[in-house]
Symmetry: C2
Subunit: 334 residues, 2 copies
C-alpha cells in the first residue's frame, strides 16, 4: 500500500500512451461547454478548467485500448461524458455541502451562487448524457441513468448518516460504492464495451472499476483527515466538520479504549463547533486507535481485488499503464 | 381569449377520455419515486404528490390517441417521464429562486433544505430519462437531453436578465420558449411519435406544443402579477420581487407615458425592497399602460398558431379533447 521505495507513482506514462484519445476527449469536453448562452459557456469552461486529472477518461480510454479498440471517437466521447458527470456531481455537492474551497479554487457555488451552480450541474449532466446517446446502444444509456440515480441515493444516505455515532462500516461502504465506485465501474465497463470485448471481459472490467473506486474513496477519506490543505485543495477535516464519519473514524469509535472512546464521542457529537485544536485531537485519537492503518488495510483489500479483475484484460502496454494508474490512485501522498 | 360566456373550461372530459393511460402514467410515476433508500422514496413521493394537474402527460397521451396509438405503455411511460422532468425543474427552481411557497405547499427546499432538493431533482430527472430509455429509439433520448440543456440555458439567461430595465420582448420570448415551451413541444411530438404518425404530423404536433407552451407561460406570468395567492399557490408578484420582468412589465416600460414611466422605472430598479403598496402601484401602472391586455393579445396569437397546427392531427374525440385542454390552459382565471 504505502509507497516505500523507488519513484513517486505518476500518471505521465499512462497519459502519454493515451495522448491522442485524451486530447480528443478534451475537445468533446470543450464542445460540451460551448453554449449559445455566453454565461453558460463561461461557467462551464470555468468549472471544467478547474477540474483535475481526468482520471476517469484515462481509465476508460486505456481499458478500451487494452481490449483492442483501435478507434478513438467512442472511447474519447464516453471518457468526456463520465468526466462531465463526475464534475457535475462535484458542482452539486458544493451546493449540498456549502464547501468553501475545492481543488484549491473557490468552489463553484461561492463563485456563481447556489442558483447558477444547480443549473450548471444540470447542464453538464445533460450534455454528458447527450454524448452517451451518440453511441448506438441504449444499454449504455440505461446503465448510466441507473448509475446517476445510485449516486443521488448515496448522497441522500450520506446526509441521513451525518453525525450518527452508531453508523456501521456496511453503511459507509454502501455510500461510497454508490457515490463513487459505480461511476468508476461504468467507466471501466464502457471501455471494454466499445472495444467489443466478450461479456466476461466487460464484467471483469466492471469489477475492476468497482473495486478501484472503493479503494480510491477510502483513501480520499483518509487524506481528508490527514492531508494538507495545499496538497488536496480542500481544508483538512472537511468531512468531519460536516459530520461525515468515514472509515478511520468509524474504526476508532469501535476500537478506542473506553475512556478515549468517550472523549472521542464527545468531540464527534458536536462536529459543527470543532476548533482546529479539537480536530487535531480527533486525528490523534484515530491514529492511536489504529483507524488510519485499518482504513488503508481495507483499501488494500479492494486494490487487490481490482488488480485480480484487471488481469483478465489482454496483456500489453495498455494493461501495464492501467496498473500504473491503480498505483497512482492508491499511493498518492500516503 | 377571455372566457366570457358559458361554462368554466375544465379538464374533466379530456381526463376521462385518457383515464386508463393516465392511471398507468401515475403508476410509472409512483415506481420512479420508489427507491431502495427510504428517505428518497419519501421525498420523491412528497414532491410528486404536491404536483399539479398532470397537464403534460395528458397532452402526450391525447396526442398519441388522436394519432391512432392503440397501446398504453409507451404514451403512459413517456407521459410520466415528462411530468417527472417538469417537476424536477420546479424543485431545482425552488433552490434557484429561494421561493417560500409553491402550489400552496411549502416549497421543497424549505421542507428538505437546499442540499436534499438538489439531489431529489437530480434523482427525478435521471429516473425520467431511464423511463425514456425504455423506448427503443435513441432519437427521443437525444432530443430530451437537448431540451433539458435548453431549459438550463434559459434559466441562466433569466438570471442574467434579472432587473434589466432595458430587456426586450425578444429576450423574454427566448427565455420562455426554452424554459417552458420546448418541453411542451417535445411532449406533443413524442405523442405523435409513439403512434407512428407520419413525420409531417409529428412536426405539426411539435409546433402545436411549442405554441401552446409559449401561450401558457405568457398567461402564467400575467397571473403571477394579477392572481390571488390562494388560487395560484404562490405569492402575487413573486416574479417581480425576483426582478423577473415579464411581458406586461416590458410592455409598460415601453408604453407608459413619460412621467409614469419614470415612476415605474424607479420602483422596478429596487424590486428587492418593494412593499405590498409598491406592488399594487406597479400592477396599476401596468394596467394603465395596457400591459395585461397586450400580453393576453400576444398569448392569443400563439394560441391561434397552436390551434392551426393542432388541426393537422386526425379528427376525432381525442382531438376535441386536446382543444378543450388548450381552452383550459389559456382561459384559466383570466
Amino acid at each position: 500500500m504505502v509507497n516505500t521505495v523507488g519513484s513517486e507513482p505518476s500518471l505521465l506514462e499512462p497519459q502519454a500512451l493515451a495522448r491522442a484519445e485524451m486530447d480528443l476527449a478534451e475537445k468533446f469536453i470543450f464542445e460540451a461547454c460551448t453554449s449559445q448562452v455566453a454565461a453558460v459557456s463561461l461557467g462551464a469552461a470555468h468549472i471544467m478548467r478547474a477540474g483535475g486529472k481526468r482520471l476517469r477518461p484515462l481509465v476508460l480510454i486505456l481499458v478500451a485500448k487494452a481490449c483492442g479498440y483501435e478507434g478513438s471517437q467512442s472511447s474519447a466521447r464516453l471518457g468526456a461524458a463520465v468526466e462531465l458527470i463526475h464534475t457535475a456531481t462535484l458542482v452539486h455537492d458544493d451546493v449540498v455541502d456549502e464547501a468553501d474551497t475545492r481543488r484549491g479554487q473557490y468552489a463553484v457555488n461561492t463563485f456563481f451562487g447556489n442558483e447558477a451552480s444547480v443549473l450548471m450541474g444540470d447542464y453538464l449532466v445533460c450534455r454528458a448524457l447527450r454524448l452517451i446517446a451518440e453511441e448506438p446502444d441504449l444499454d449504455l444509456m440505461r446503465e448510466i441513468c441507473d448509475v446517476i440515480v445510485s449516486m443521488c441515493e448515496a448522497e441522500v444516505l450520506q446526509i441521513a448518516y451525518r453525525g450518527d455515532l452508531e453508523n456501521t462500516f456496511e453503511n459507509y461502504l454502501t455510500v461510497i460504492r454508490n457515490k463513487t465506485a459505480c461511476l468508476f465501474s461504468f467507466t471501466a465497463m464502457a471501455g471494454a464495451h466499445v472495444a467489443g470485448a466478450p461479456s466476461a471481459t466487460c464484467e471483469a472490467m466492471r469489477t475492476f472499476g468497482l473495486n478501484v473506486g472503493i479503494a480510491f474513496q477510502i483513501i480520499d477519506d483518509v487524506l481528508d483527515l490527514l492531508g494538507e490543505q495545499n496538497l488536496l485543495g480542500k481544508p483538512t477535516g472537511s468531512d468531519l466538520l460536516e459530520g461525515k464519519f468515514t472509515y478511520p473514524i468509524l474504526h476508532a469509535l469501535r476500537e478506542a479504549p473506553p475512556g478515549r472512546r468517550e472523549e472521542l464521542r464527545g468531540l464527534l457529537s458536536r462536529t459543527d463547533q470543532l476548533s482546529q485544536e479539537d480536530l487535531r485531537s480527533v486525528v490523534e485519537m484515530v491514529r492511536e486507535a489504529g483507524g488510519f492503518r485499518a482504513a488503508l488495510d481495507r483499501a488494500q483489500e479492494y486494490t487487490d481485488r481490482c488488480l485480480t479483475a484487471l488481469s483478465e484484460a489482454p496483456p500489453g502496454p495498455a494493461l501495464d499503464a492501467l496498473r500504473r494508474v491503480v498505483s497512482y490512485v492508491v499511493e498518492r501522498q500516503i
